[in-house]
Each structure stands twice: as C-alpha cells, then as structure tokens.
Symmetry: C2
C-alpha cells in the first residue's frame, strides 16, 4: 500500500481519454485544442524567429495597410497595449517600421520592411500547411459545421456580449 495513489504518472488520462475526451466540457476541449494548435504553430515558426502573435500582427499590417495600432487591436481581438508591445518587438527585429502618419498627427504609419515581407511569406507557407492538418479529419459538411460554430463563439463571446 501507499502506492497507486501518490505515485507520479499513475492513472493519468491522455488527451482524448476520460474527462479529456469527447464527454468533457466543451470549453475545456476548446482550451485544450487551441493550446495544442498554438504550441504547434509556435514550434513551426521558431526557425523563422517570430512568434504567432507577431505573425498575426504582420498579417494584419499587410491586410489592412494604413490603419492604426488601435485598429489592428480591434480586429485581432487584442488590446492596444498588447499590439503596442508586439509592434515594438517587431521593430526591434527590423521587420516593421514606424513613421509619422501623413494625415493624422497622433497615429503612426506601420509598414512591413523588405525583411518583414519575406519573413511573412515564409511564415504563411508553414501556417497554411498546418491549416490543412486541422481540416484533415473533417468531411466537407462537418467542416462547415465547425466553421459556423467557431464564428458564432467569437461573435457572442466578444466584448460585453450577453
């Protein structure tokens, strides 16, 4: 006795087992899945020297040129402070440049540098490949179900909803 309980690594469920399987709480399963996916992205991006957050912000800058950091924060569901930190790190790495805005004295013009554009293109390849893996267990119909659900969750948990 004195064993079987208090012994490390004994009887622990792995992902997909017990409370960690299909009977678990949806919120828990989402946290688990999002965490696993995020870690995976982070690992794949590591050789490029950028993080997933930096990838997101670079993508935003490319997609919505001329917008303020506050705008980027809104569409990324982040706070302006967070975006500010990320941009500071991107500038330190020479991937993004900040310059005075032409028509607005307070906001700053954000642009990818040449190095930033190259890095983004390389990162995109990797992330898009991962997107395929995300889809591989889904039929066409089930994929639509999942997409609709993800969008619904984002919409009615965003801001002060409910």
């Amino acid at each position: 006795m004195g064993k079987g309980q208090g012994v490390p690594g004994f009887g622990l469920p792995r992902p997909g087992e017990g409370k960690r399987g299909e009977e678990g709480y949806l919120g828990y399963l989402m946290r688990q899945a999002a965490g696993a996916y995020r870690n995976r992205c982070e690992r794949d991006l590591k050789d490029l020297g950028i993080t997933t957050a930096q990838f997101t912000v670079m993508t935003m800058i490319a997609a919505y040129p001329g917008h303020s950091g506050a705008d980027l924060a809104r569409i990324a569901l982040l706070t302006p402070q967070t975006v500010s930190v990320i941009i500071a790190n991107l500038e330190k790495s020479g991937l993004v440049s900040r310059s005075p805005h032409a028509v607005h004295g307070r906001i700053q013009q954000l642009d990818l540098t040449d190095a930033g554009r190259d890095r983004l293109a390389a990162a995109r390849k990797k992330i898009h490949a991962l997107d395929g893996a995300l889809r591989h267990s889904l039929s066409k119909e089930d994929e639509q179900v999942v997409r609709r659900w993800l969008v619904a969750v984002a919409i009615d948990h965003g801001e002060g909803a409910n």
Copy 2:
C-alpha cells in the same frame, strides 16, 4: 481625397465578416474563438479574484489529488515551469497549500485550502454556465461533430506529432 485610406476605423471587418467569417482560415477562426471565450471566462472569474489558468490548476488538483506539479503540467498541456508559477501565485493567495510528500522526497503534496475549495465551487458555477452558451447554437449531432474535431486537433497537434 486623402480619405478612405489611412483614416482610422474605416472599412474594417467585424468578427464574422469577410476574412473573419466562415471563409477564413480554420486556424485563424479557432484563435479568434478561443481568444473570445478565454476573455469571457477571465471577465467572469474576475470578481472571484482568480484567473482561468488558476481555475484550471485548482480543478486539476481537485480531480487528481496526490499528483506532482509535473503531472498536472502534462494533463494541462503546460510546462512544469508554468504550473510552478501558477501554484506559487495560488499559494500566495491562500488557495493552495504545498507540503512535503509522504512517500516521495522530491515532489510536493498539493492541496486546496478551505478557501480554495469554496472559490473553486463558485468558479465552477460560472464556467459551467458559460459552457451552456458555447453549446447553444449547436444541435445534438453538430455538437458531437465539434467535440470529435476538438479532441482530434488536441491529439494530433500535441507534443511532436506529425
């Protein structure tokens, strides 16, 4: 002229629109949904003075008593260092106690204090209510599709999979 481009807040998509809608990348949609849900949990837990990470670890301690911090890290898909930080903060708040382990000199016995148990019970109510909201747009069949997908994602993106 000089307007319509470079003017803040103009023509930005909201969640569910454009690239942020059902045609977007699955990974992006998941990041968006998980972020919104996480923010929502954080806000609901705020009056209890705990974070979602602390809620997760307290739940683990209650569910797998007698296990090491390293074990908790494994089942939570976190690193031992992260769990160590969270437990340190929980101890500082008087919600968790650390004591020498009975049969193993290196690991430490983790227990919820009375205050910790009360706090966990209250937090559980709130989080479980949110789980209902997560499900409300899904039929029974679609919920199973989503659950299977989330588990599959967690399994084949965990560790060094692929």
